[in-house]
């Protein structure tokens, strides 16, 4: 398989086979980033597919002196934010309609030293539900910043470039997002926050 740079060059020349490989290379991350922003796997799939379709139309104009991921994920994140904005009212209504989540409220996540591997898989699934519920309290930019910074490990200046905002605004969104999520954990999932409150 060609390296990423060579693949991108061939894609710019209109080679659809290379584009298929590029899609395979970036697909999982694109879906994951979109999922963490929109909160629904099917929506995330739609966002990622649409992003790749747009990528194909735009890749001839890509400047190879720039890093590819920030350039591409700008498309993914902006599509995801647009969709999240459209869905946000509905998501907030669901989140505010109950004081305790039925699917995860009574559970406890014990990430202690002797957690078996099989439980880790279950924990991640449970964690996903909790994150989706808590993240529904965030604004689109806060959610995108938290996803990119804390989950994907993107640097602050790149996030600023992706979202078209200043670095200070990125830091502010991150601070707000962390505060809201922490409060949500304390309120709805005290078992998850107990170590912190000791």
């Amino acid at each position: 398989m060609l390296d990423e740079r060579a693949l991108i060059r061939l894609c710019r020349q209109g080679d659809q086979r290379s584009f298929e490989q590029l899609v395979a290379l970036k697909r999982d991350k694109a879906i994951r980033v979109a999922f963490n922003i929109v909160g629904d796997e099917d929506d995330a799939k739609d966002v990622a597919q649409q992003a790749f379709i747009r990528l194909w139309g735009a890749i001839r104009g890509y400047d190879e002196s720039m890093r590819f991921d920030p350039w591409f994920f700008k498309i993914v994140v902006n599509l995801a934010i647009d969709l999240y904005r459209r869905n946000q009212k509905r998501l907030q209504t669901i989140a505010e309609s109950s004081t305790a989540p039925p699917e995860a409220g009574g559970s406890s996540l014990d990430a202690g030293p002797s957690v078996p591997a099989a439980d880790v898989v279950f924990m991640r699934r449970e964690l996903r539900g909790i994150f989706n519920r808590l993240a529904a309290q965030l604004g689109p930019a806060q959610r995108a910043v938290f996803t990119l910074k804390e989950i994907e490990g993107v640097e602050t200046d790149e996030i600023a470039s992706i979202l078209g905002i200043r670095e200070s605004t990125v830091r502010n969104h991150l601070m707000q997002a962390r505060r809201i999520l922490r409060e949500g954990l304390r309120r709805w999932y005290p078992e998850y926050a107990k170590d912190f409150t000791r």
Partner: protein, 214 residues
Amino acid sequence: MTDKAACDRFERSLDAYLGDALAHREREAAKRHASSCPECLARLTRHDPLARFLPLSLETPSPRVTEGFWDAVRAGIERDSGDAPRRDTVAPHRVSAGFRAAFRGRRMAPFALAASLLVMVLAAVFAALAPGRIAPDTSHVSRVAPSPTRAVPWSPAVAGGSPLPQTVENVRTEDERDVQVYSMTWLDQDSAAAGHDPSQVTELILIVDAGLKL
């Protein structure tokens, strides 16, 4: 799987991590380790409960989501890139498409839309009043240079019958005026249900020219 050396490195860097004193690369390395090491994740979450979400970075989409992913992307690309040529071509399925589909696709010229609406309204009126052939005396009209036959969008719901082919012709009258002649036929509901019977076909011919005396 945990790596003792990696756990030791993480332990040593924990204070710097919590104090936000690590360089980006070191911080991300610490996060990657904690994401896959339950012991170190537990150490971290004692200080920062949001660190519990770090393992989300290891998630991979379910097979349900990835199945057919590329096929959908390719179809989307082909659909997008195929738009322009299709606009100039009347494909067979477009000719027989219903009024709503043609309207939704915005592929119908405004004049044709307005004319066909007029024709349909008049057709409904004529159909209600007099089944059978309704035709003006067109003996004084000489049909010269007819255009290729074109389909006119048709709404069975408006005319209350079963659609048959419709035509439009460009016609020049004896006094040298260019007009358009719309011809259409349809079966009423009962005849259509019983099968095509020419004697039950209603035909309407409409000559569109404000100054023409019939």
